[in-house]
């Protein structure tokens, strides 16, 4: 055995456990899900090949699939706008703070660390009146003299919006941490040079901060879309789907798996995956164009 081959084998010996785990827990399930989406299967019986029937059922037959995608998109819209803008503003503020930076980072990152189920159950207690919840939020408003705002926060008219806002509240912390890291990676000298050249704060923000932090913003946008479109546990605990008003795609997949409609659930998973991959690539493409326009990337 020559030395080069031995070196390669030695290197591979260190890599293969990770490769094996990755293949078993990621690559194999990915392809198996794809294969099962063409079959009728209940986990126990032998799978029966049904061609594109499951995909036809999801795309054209199931009247609830597209509304669930809409619900997912609605929550994603709020996460992209409200959550991320708030996180960015907070990151900008903390970036300028000279003291207690680490403290703020920890405080704002507590929510994403908490379990989604805990957040869902907690908010249910806060927002819903007796006998399901404790109506804490309304009582708080009453004590502040804002009784005119008291209402059924998870009522039919606003359950979707409140669900989206709870999701944003839970999720802004990680967007904040990633954006703050991006902001802190911008060299201070650039701002100093701009100040010497007479740039004001707005110019520094639009000409230095935004273009340089754009790759991080793109990453946050893509992660927000992927994370929110796959949101599930918090919504299940908070509303249980609210008669379809807050039913999201993963909730449908979960329900179909519970009913042992494995092929259908896998087809839904594949379709959701394709949609998310397309959206992600589109976002990266748009981001690249923006960066080219700003001259951050060589055109």
């Amino acid at each position: 055995m020559n030395g080069k081959l031995r070196d390669k084998l030695t290197s591979f010996a260190f890599v293969w456990p990770a490769l094996l785990i990755f293949s078993i827990f990621y690559i194999y399930p990915f392809f198996y899900t794809f294969i099962l989406s063409f079959q009728e299967y209940d986990f126990i019986s032998s799978p029966q090949f049904v061609g594109l029937s499951n995909f036809r059922e999801v795309l054209f037959g199931d009247k609830e699939w597209w509304p669930s995608m809409y619900n997912g998109a609605f929550i994603t819209f709020w996460a992209l706008t409200f959550q991320n803008i708030f996180a960015f503003m907070l990151a900008l503020a903390v970036d300028k703070v000279l003291r207690l930076k680490k403290f703020y980072r920890v405080v704002f990152f507590i929510l994403p660390v908490l379990s989604e189920i805990i957040i869902g159950l907690l908010m249910k207690q806060l927002l819903i009146s007796e006998p399901v919840g404790r109506d804490v939020f309304n009582q708080f408003l009453g004590r502040l003299g804002m009784g005119f705002l008291v209402q059924d926060w998870l009522g039919t008219d606003r359950v979707r919006l409140i669900t989206a806002l709870v999701h944003c509240w839970k999720g802004f912390g990680w967007a904040f941490v990633i954006l703050l890291a991006g902001l802190q990676s911008i060299p201070e000298q650039l701002y100093e040079a701009a100040r010497i050249d007479g740039a004001n704060a707005w110019h520094s923000f639009t000409k230095i901060t935004v273009p340089l932090v754009m790759p991080v913003i793109t990453l946050v946008i893509v992660l927000t879309i992927l994370g929110t479109m796959q949101a599930f546990a918090m919504i299940l605990a908070l509303t249980g789907g609210a008669g379809g008003l807050t039913e999201v795609p993963v909730m449908r997949i979960y329900n179909h798996l519970r009913f042992s409609l494995v092929g259908l659930a896998c087809a839904e998973g594949v379709i959701l995956g394709i949609v998310l991959i397309l959206v992600s690539f589109t976002m990266f493409f748009i981001s690249k164009k923006i960066r080219e326009k700003y001259g951050v990337l060589p055109s």
Binding site: S45, A242, F259
Partner: protein, 445 residues
Amino acid sequence: MLSQKSKVLLFSLCTLLLWGCSQAPRTQGLVVWHWLTDRQDALNDLAVQYQEKTGIPVEFKLFFPADIYSQKVIAAARAGNLPDIFGILGEKKILGSFIKAGHILDLTSYMEKDNHKWQNSFYPQTLAVTQFKKDNFYKVPPGTYAVPIDTTVMQFIYNRSVFQQVGLDPNRGPRTFDEFIAVAKQVKENLGIDGFVCGWGEGWLLNALATEWAINLMGEEKFLNTIAGTVSYTDPQWIKVFSLFMKLKESGVLASNIEKMTNKEAEDAFAKGKAVFSFNGSWAVNVYRQLNPRLDYAFFSLPEVSDKYPEKIWGGAGTSFMVHARSAQKEEAVRFLEWITQNLQQEFLVLKTNNLPAVKMDPEKFPSILKTLGNDLKMSVEDFPGSSPRPELEKLTHPNVWPKNEDARVIEVMNRGLQQIIMGLKTPQGVAQEIQAVKERVSQL
């Protein structure tokens, strides 16, 4: 080049990794998997008794919640790691798949031994849930495939103390739907507490109630014909069933956000006296005892919407155990199940866990709350403890005793539709049309 030490280390690591994938060594004795959090102590006590009697240890392994338990059983079946005894949750179709895949032992010969002695000891309805008849829809060989250890029924419950507070007879629940609404309204107006709580965030409780009212309104035959596809869900009687939920909403007796309520939340609310009525399974006796031992309540039958057809109650075997057909100890497993379903052990379970028994037993031996329920269900056996059966628990019905289950997608749309009626988003007619559309679509697949 790797040193000798590194080679030994790498080899040890690989061996450890592979060791971790190997099957765990089986202990001597029987292993039973279940999901019954409230019964673990009682089952362990029985295991100790069995070991003292036979010398064979029995280990009850608890996995919960039920969804996780189901996944574990499915994964174990696929991996060939099923325990000696286990239960299956879900539709009869799934049970059929397990049987056809050879995972479950046919118990018919054991049941029929000694002139059907074991079989006759059960209430027939509890066995029927896991029995397959000849030429069944699921194409499963006919037989009895599980042993029920208790009976569960879905019933209405009322708070007796609240009845007394508003001057109503605490020994009599409402008989009709209109009376039910009138009482709930009276309580809400006088005491300000909710009329009705139920875990309607979990669709199956809506489905169970809709089923009971549908059978009461149109008769079991027409109901089953709907599932068979010869009667439409847009039939006026079905629309009337869905309209009952609309009436409940319009009457204002439902707890707010009932469509988001889990069964646990509903149980908690009722146990704390926050509502006068609830609809729940007979397991609630144990739950209420744990939540509020002083709660004074009673069960009552479905508030009737018609006197043309007899009412049917969703119920049957609450928990059934199956024997793993490939277990090396299957004969011992059957013997253990025979033992656990003997009267003495069933009596122990009834008293310890407050669940109705699966075997014929004199209701006088039940705790007081179950005694009323048992008498209402006609659980007493005329010639107890003789062997001649009579149509006990004649009121019970269950999807697993029907010729076939309704398609899960139809049930899903029905449950969501009922939630939407309660939320004021849809009309009964609109929901009926949606259900029928899905029914027609899935029947063509």
